[in-house]
Symmetry: C2
Subunit: 153 residues, 2 copies
């Protein structure tokens, strides 16, 4: 069974949902940091205890990458997605610690009928990353380009 294809016209501001949780481990956090953000509080528990995070914390870029992975698996299937255009108003609000489940809550926001490319519209997906206790760890608005519904031929 394939999902019905959702074009730009089918997305409704206010509709949304929540993903299952993903739980980055200590090893995941350190591995990302070694390659992309080698700062002491992302690499080493002892150094992190002395930092403002009070313990090992994920790189914010790691959290952002995991967030998009959850959206791609849970919010975007069936959507006639063409491209990510960017995002607005990303804020890291709490450190992401190892072994804490993270899930994303998302809802469609502002919709613009044109992108500058023929046959596509712009959709905004407003996203919050929630920790196990429901506290917001990160938030952002993702801007995507979505196919417009083809005219009946």
């Amino acid at each position: 069974m394939s999902l019905p294809r959702r074009y730009w016209e089918d997305l409704r501001s206010g509709d949304g949902g929540e993903s299952p949780a993903i739980t980055p481990t200590r090893e995941d956090i350190i591995s990302f940091a070694i390659d992309y953000d080698p700062q002491p509080f992302h690499l080493d528990e002892e150094a992190a205890k002395q930092s403002l995070f009070g313990g090992l914390a994920a790189s914010g870029w790691h959290t952002a990458s995991l967030t998009f992975a959850l959206l791609r698996e849970h919010a975007l299937p069936g959507v006639a997605w063409v491209n990510n255009l960017g995002f607005n108003d990303l804020r890291w609000k709490r450190p992401v610690k190892p072994d804490i489940p993270l899930r994303v809550r998302y809802s469609w926001g502002e919709m613009l009928p044109e992108t500058g490319n023929p046959g596509t519209g712009q959709a905004t997906l407003d996203v919050q990353v929630l920790e196990g206790d429901g506290e917001v760890a990160m938030e952002m608005s993702l801007l995507i380009e979505v196919e417009r519904r083809p005219l009946e031929g």
Copy 2:
């Protein structure tokens, strides 16, 4: 020789610079994508040729992570950096292809004297990621928390 410590009061809107280049390889692009953004046009040259990118392209989160790595090495040393708060207006404007040098051009933008935390101010770093030919591949404004100059005791 250590750099003089630059507090919030020392940062001037309009000041900036440009980093040396970094050149992600095909292997770098695929390795990031396997772990964090496994979409065909980030993983496989043949699949990517059929996509709107016309060839293998880096995950936008990979580009963002590399951008921050360049800023951390070249724009932020000496700055009394406390924390990244988030960023605004990130746009991916061109696909990032393998073996193309990327560099960042940055300038300090809006400065706000308070962050809600005592003794710190907010600084904005306006950033463009440039390809070899000077075309802009990505842009964003990074918001950071910076220590205020301590009062003379």
